[in-house]
Amino acid sequence: MRPLGILLTFVVALVAIGGVAAFFISQSYTSPNYPNGVQVAQPLGTAVVNGQSVPHVALQFQTYPDSTGSVAGKQVHPSGNPAWPAYGLSNQYQVPAHSLVTVTIRQYDSGGSLNNPWFAKVSGTVGGVATFTSPDGKTVTTNHVDPDNIGHTFTMRSAPGVDSAFFLNVPLPTNANLPNNQTNPDAGQYYTVKFSFLSGAKGVYAWNCEFPCGQMVASFGGVMGAYGFMSGFVHVV
């Protein structure tokens, strides 16, 4: 009876430890279980940057004011909330390392003032600029926008120890005239923001929005504190 008790104790302990470990692994940011999958950048061939030929890829995604909307039958976010904006459809992007990545973002959301106007500056892109096309078709290429008319930002940095020199920040101007269209979020007008950056070393990079588009404390609660709406990861492979 006694050996059986000892054996049972070890089995229970192993199951408990294994269960906790499995839980932590499932919560890891490298977990492949993303609700809308990983959006892989589309290859465009090669490009010459700083005299070197590098792979060139493209990414396109959107910012929606209402995360409950559906695009082509797919929800922007499975746990959507009408008051919560979201990037979509995926918040996970995959790009090759040391490549030129051209990003096009369609910004459907309204906005306001940044908590820190520093994020109105474009940082880390090729040439230090981005191209902004307003809903009425006016295009401007610049290194900063009005910090009091920001919809969101796309701000990206590496995981600790991956590529500390890498940093990207692109502000997305306010799209003032857009009504929410839940049944077809892509139907309305939008601001188009286009920029290119050189991806860093292989690893996980986090991106998030630095515009206070959430609730509660400094408007960084609610949607800003919930993973997957205004935040995600870029997998550099």
Partner: protein, 282 residues
């Protein structure tokens, strides 16, 4: 041997018993304590060389010394606990024919005045020494220098930004000139963060609507990491960026490359032709 016989044997061989000192339990515990203390002290002296980064300021040196001093001071106390536990585990383990029968409880021991007095006195002395040591280290960081370089540190979810008043420079990397006192004016625009350039030996909370001042003097060239030390939300783990202690000339050049005018950069870096450094207000 019955439990009562075990207790009799222990009582006959206590520290005050008649057997030679090192044959008694007290003597054996003393030897174990001595060994554990030596191990603890050695760890206190040598482990920081392998576990801590190279400090880049006198304040960092103070932190290093504090860790060593506190570890060495704690070693004999911890060793006593471990020695008694270690000895008890092997020498006073209950042995019985029937392992399912637990030993009866021993009589509670009360009223040992000398032990209580020694324990309280030693604890008090240790705590008071630690208190004065801590106050001395903290006080050294409160001294204001008239020619200190002012750096405004802003924490926000989830990035540190730094501005250098008078230069128009605001960056996400913290460059500092070597051997020049620096005053960090730390605040937050959202929740509480913790500004922690560990190798500079300073750490302070960044609170919203409050500016907290902390000072240091970088004295070693090289890069370092600034981390957030307060759990501040979703990407707290990503809230770190790099800093660099550089020469005054390199700092001047770096300021200009980030948009400062040559005059403002030279003033902030202390490389102006007059050779004097200027305090720059917030």
């Amino acid at each position: 041997m019955s439990f009562e016989e075990e207790v009799d044997e222990i009582e006959a061989n206590t520290l005050l018993g008649g057997a030679p000192f090192f044959s008694r339990p007290g003597g054996k515990i003393f030897i174990i304590w001595l060994v554990f203390t030596v191990i603890g002290v050695l760890i206190g002296f040598y482990a920081p060389h392998h576990l801590l980064p190279v400090m880049q300021s006198p304040e960092g040196g103070d932190v290093w010394a504090t860790i060593v001093f506190f570890t060495v001071l704690a070693a004999p106390v911890a060793a006593l606990v471990y020695a008694i536990a270690f000895y008890s585990l092997f020498a006073w383990r209950h042995r019985s024919e029937d392992p399912d029968v637990p030993p009866p409880d021993a009589e509670p021991q009360r009223g040992n005045g000398p032990v209580t007095v020694v324990w309280l006195a030693v604890s008090t002395v240790l705590v008071v020494v630690l208190l004065f040591w801590g106050i001395a280290v903290w006080s050294a960081q409160q001294v204001s220098h008239p020619n200190a370089l002012q750096v405004n540190v802003t924490g926000q979810q989830w990035l540190w930004t730094y501005s250098y008043p008078g230069t128009g420079v605001e960056t996400r990397t913290l460059d500092l000139p070597v051997n020049r006192p620096v005053q960090f004016n730390v605040t937050s625009v959202d929740v509480t963060h913790g500004f922690w350039p560990a190798v500079l030996g300073v750490q302070v909370d960044a609170n919203p609507d409050v500016v907290t001042v902390i000072r240091t003097t970088p004295n070693k060239l090289g890069k370092f990491i600034v981390q957030c030390s307060q759990l501040c939300g979703l990407y707290h783990a990503f809230m770190n960026n790099t800093g660099d202690v550089v020469t005054s000339q390199q700092f001047d050049t770096w300021l200009q490359s980030n948009g400062a005018t040559p005059t403002a950069a030279a003033t902030a870096a202390g490389t102006s032709s007059s050779g004097s450094t200027t305090a720059m207000g917030k």
